[in-house]
């Protein structure tokens, strides 16, 4: 590498660094404004305010998924995000933890979510079930009644490995003549993979990395994917903005 290359490298990375710094400064300023507006407008996020916001949304995702990259010391921020999502009209929230730590601490997560639910909805609010995919089998997966909020906790074992297990099951069924070869199609595989975990309409990836990190791939077919910074920086306005973008998106489905 010559001197000119080094100088150009420094300039380009410097320009990009300044651009990122400017973006960070803009983000920080926007965050500060959002925070001040949030304090002034909401004085703490109340259910009545969120209910007003719901009326501005032309469509709401039935199932939202959060993809979490960082190791969480406290579950309070995640529990708040889940509760806000329910208040915005969602019925199912799945939380995918790329390191699998949430499943190991399910009871603590459940406690944190129930606490936030009670803070926002009051003691008489809808019940919330927090479960792994295996424990949730048999639940009303689509939660059509809306009387129950469902939180599904996922890890990498629920991703590609689940497709492997489904393939092994189908293979054995064919060898045992319980299923015909010609019956293996997308609908059959889809029924098996989405029996408990439905396709999320909206995915929010927290933590800065623009990557799904092993999230069940079959389920991301037409999911709207948004990226937000780490959970501890999340304010309600960020989540509401994503919901607004979701409401304005158009899905042409290839046509």
């Amino acid at each position: 590498m010559g001197f000119a290359d080094i100088l150009a490298a420094l300039c380009l990375h410097g320009v990009h660094g300044v651009t990122r710094l400017k973006a960070s400064a803009t983000y920080a300023f926007t965050w500060l404004c959002s925070f001040l507006l949030y304090v002034v407008k909401h004085k703490g996020t109340k259910l009545e305010s969120i209910t007003c916001d719901v009326k501005t949304l032309t469509k709401i995702p039935l199932h939202t998924t959060f993809i979490v990259q960082e190791k969480l010391e406290s579950f309070e921020d995640l529990a708040r995000a889940v509760t806000w999502t329910f208040a915005l009209g969602g019925h199912v929230v799945s939380v995918y933890d790329s390191k699998g730590n949430l499943k190991k601490d399910l009871a603590r997560l459940r406690t944190a979510i129930v606490l936030q639910q009670e803070k926002l909805f009051g003691a008489a609010g809808p019940a919330v079930q927090v479960a792994t995919l295996q424990d949730a089998e048999g639940f009303d997966a689509l939660n059509k009644t809306g009387e129950l909020f469902l939180v599904l906790v996922l890890s990498p074992e629920d991703g590609r490995q689940h497709i492997v297990e489904t393939a092994v099951g189908v293979c054995k069924a064919v060898l045992q003549n319980r299923v015909k070869m010609e019956d293996i199609n997308i609908d059959l595989i889809d029924r098996k993979l989405t029996a408990t975990l439905t396709e999320p309409s909206l995915a929010i990836v927290f933590g800065g990395l623009q990557c799904s990190l092993g999230y069940p791939p079959w389920h991301l077919r037409v999911t709207e994917i948004h990226f937000l910074p780490v959970l501890r920086k999340l304010v309600y306005q960020d989540l509401y903005t994503v919901f607004q973008k979701y409401a304005s998106c158009q899905q042409r489905l290839g046509t």
Binding site: A167, V174, M181, Q210
Partner: protein, 327 residues
């Protein structure tokens, strides 16, 4: 003079980017052709697709100049067959024209020794288009320096389902056991079985979804959604995507490493279960014997999987070769 300065600056930026990590495999959802045609008041969406193809040629050159050795593009989805007959016929005709161009005039393909592959349920295509595709693929089959994978009549769910059907057929034919099915084997059975997973996935037009494209393969890819219509995609948009990939590289590599560890552990546990299922004795074998049995089982499994994959790949290659008359 303006063009020379701009070209010089672009070359400098390219050289600077090459000092960092360059994605080896870039996948692109080339979205926005029809909206571009509407924006420019062309009257017909087809003109947008023509310009979209020109943009693909340009982008391929940028990729090769940067050192990207594999590019996968989403050219035509199975869902696109639902479009109007006029548009679908137009796209099929455009495909034939561009393959003819590829066979006769493309200096990019020849200079960079690019091998073109067609990935998808090609049997859905009209015979005349399929013959052109077969010619294009066979024409470049001996190139090996770079790869252009064109996903045609493709959706990812269809691809995964076909991979499962291949493995089930393999089990029916006695080439595989059900317990041989694994993440690694599924990957080899996908249409992209010869390719590494994409490092960077770019989608243009501002849409923020994958739309049934490389869902399995992109689980550890850097996703870059850009708010620009495909025919307006510039080298600066491309460089920006690469820069953002470079900033995420270390973290994604770490995540991939953890995933590899999980898969290896999963595979070991599967092999152990298979050995214990077959064990006839009353007591579990002692540790060192068990380890040896697991190792031998893994070797036999590997041999079955390799033989099965070889057979499947040969069949897929022969499917296109037989469509080309001997020259």
């Amino acid at each position: 003079m303006g063009d020379n300065t701009s070209s010089w600056f672009r070359n400098v930026c390219c050289r600077v980017l090459r000092t960092g990590v360059v994605p080896k495999h870039v996948a692109i959802i080339m979205d926005g052709n029809r909206r571009f045609a509407k924006k420019m008041h062309y009257g017909k969406a087809f003109q947008g697709h023509v310009l979209g193809f020109e943009k693909l040629k340009e982008t391929l050159q940028w990729c090769l100049d940067l050192g990207v050795t594999e590019v996968t593009v989403y050219a035509f989805s199975i869902e696109n067959f639902k479009r109007s007959k006029e548009e679908v016929d137009g796209l099929m005709e455009l495909t034939k024209q561009k393959i003819a161009y590829l066979l006769e005039e493309s200096d990019v393909i020849a200079k960079h020794q690019v091998r073109v592959r067609a990935l998808g349920d090609l049997r859905r295509l009209p015979d005349d288009v399929l013959q052109f595709i077969a010619k294009g693929v066979n024409y470049t089959k001996n190139n090996a320096r770079a790869f252009l994978n064109v996903c045609y009549a493709y959706t990812s769910r269809h691809e995964m389902t076909e991979a499962i059907k291949e493995m089930v057929t393999g089990a029916q034919d006695g080439l595989l056991y059900p317990s041989d099915i694994s993440e690694d084997l599924i990957e080899q059975c996908l249409y992209t079985g010869d390719s590494p997973p994409p490092d960077l996935v770019v989608r243009t037009s501002g849409e923020v979804r994958l739309s049934d494209f490389l869902l399995w393969q992109s689980t550890y890819s850097h996703l870059c959604f850009q708010d620009v219509l495909w025919p307006e995609f510039s080298v600066w948009h491309f460089f920006s995507a690469v820069l953002s990939y470079q900033h995420s590289f270390a973290s994604i590599q770490e995540a991939r490493r953890e995933d590899r560890e999980r898969r290896d552990k999963q595979q070991y546990e599967s092999d152990l279960r298979s050995v214990l299922d077959q064990w006839q004795g009353i007591n579990v074998p002692e540790a060192s014997l068990l380890e040896q049995m697991v190792k031998e089982h893994a070797e036999r499994r590997g041999q079955r999987q390799r033989a099965f994959v070889e057979c499947m790949r040969t069949r897929r290659v022969q499917f296109l070769e037989q469509l080309c008359p001997a020259s």
